[in-house]
Subunit: 143 residues, 2 copies
DNA sequence: CAGTATCCTTGCGGATACTG
DNA sequence: CAGTATCCGCAAGGATACTG
C-alpha cells in the first residue's frame, strides 16, 4: 500500500475521533485488559447465563479471588448482571447485560481482523525494561 | 431489549470466535493498553509523520522515558515505523505502518460505540482492592 | 533533540487459608 | 458454593539527572 493512501485513510479514520476521548478509550481497554475480563465476557457470550463456578471452570488458571474481583468489576461497569438467588447453599449466576452484549458485538470486527493478522503479534511480547540495557549483549541470567 | 434476542445476538457474535484466541486478543489489548500507546497511535493517525518531541507535545503528561518506551514497543509490534535521519542534532520521525493504520481503522466502530455510550463507563473506575472491604462503610481517607 | 541511566512507587495479579 | 481476608512478588509507570 502506498504512503499517501495510507495517510489519507488513517486521517479519515480519525476524523470522527477527538483526542479528548482517549482517556475514555483507555478506560474501556483497561476494563477489557483486566486479564480475565475479556475471557469472562466471552464465556458469558457463548454460555448465556452461568454460575460462578461454571465460569471458573471455563477459564483455565483463574483463582477464585481474581474471578470474583473481575466479576465485581464487570458488574460495576454495567457489562454483566449478577443474580443472587439468596439460597443457603449459595447460588449466583451471571449474564451479559445489554451493554455487555453490545460491546462484545462491536468488538467482533476487530477480533476478526486481529485473528487474520495474528502473525503480526505473535512474536512480540511486552519486554520493556529487559532489553533496555542489554538489547545486544546477550541476555543475563534472570533470577 | 428482551433477554432472548440478547442471548441470540451474543451467541451469534461469538460464533466466529474461539476461546483459543483469547490470549491473542489480550495481547493486542495489552499493546493498546500500555497507557500511552493508544494516544500515540491516535496522534500519528491524525498527524501523519511526527517527530519524537511533537508526539510528546500532543500527549499531555507523558514523560520522555515512557514516550520512548511506548514508541519502541509499538515499533517492535510493527504498528509504527521509525525514521532516524542520523543527523547530529537528532531528528527522528515516527509514522503508522500499514498494520497500525489497519488496526486503527478496525477500532473505529468500537470507539464510535464507546463514545456514544460514554455514560456507561464514566463513573466506574478500577477500584479493586479499595472497596473490597468498605464498599458501603463510607470511604476512608486515602493517604 | 532524542534518547539513557537510576531509583522509587503503585497496584495488578497470584497463593493460601478461612467462612456463611 | 461463592465468596473474604491476608500476604506477597513483580512489572508498569513515574521522577529526575545525565549524554551524544
Amino acid at each position: 500500500m502506498d504512503r499517501e493512501s495510507l495517510l489519507a485513510r488513517s486521517q479519515a479514520a480519525c476524523a470522527a475521533l477527538s483526542a479528548d476521548d482517549d482517556g475514555l478509550k483507555r478506560e474501556v481497554l483497561s476494563h477489557a485488559g483486566n486479564r480475565w475480563s475479556l475471557g469472562i465476557v466471552h464465556a458469558l457470550g457463548v454460555g448465556g447465563r452461568l454460575r460462578h463456578a461454571e465460569i471458573g471452570r471455563r477459564m483455565e488458571g483463574v483463582t477464585q479471588r481474581m474471578l470474583t474481583r473481575s466479576l465485581r468489576q464487570l458488574e460495576r461497569d454495567g457489562l454483566i448482571i449478577r443474580y443472587d438467588y439468596q439460597e443457603k447453599s449459595p447460588r449466583v449466576e451471571y449474564e451479559l447485560s445489554a451493554t455487555g452484549t453490545a460491546l462484545l458485538e462491536h468488538m467482533i470486527p476487530l477480533w476478526m481482523w486481529v485473528i487474520d493478522n495474528a502473525a503480526q503479534f505473535r512474536q512480540s511480547r511486552t519486554v520493556f525494561d529487559a532489553g533496555e540495557l542489554s538489547a545486544e549483549k546477550g541476555l543475563q541470567s534472570k533470577k
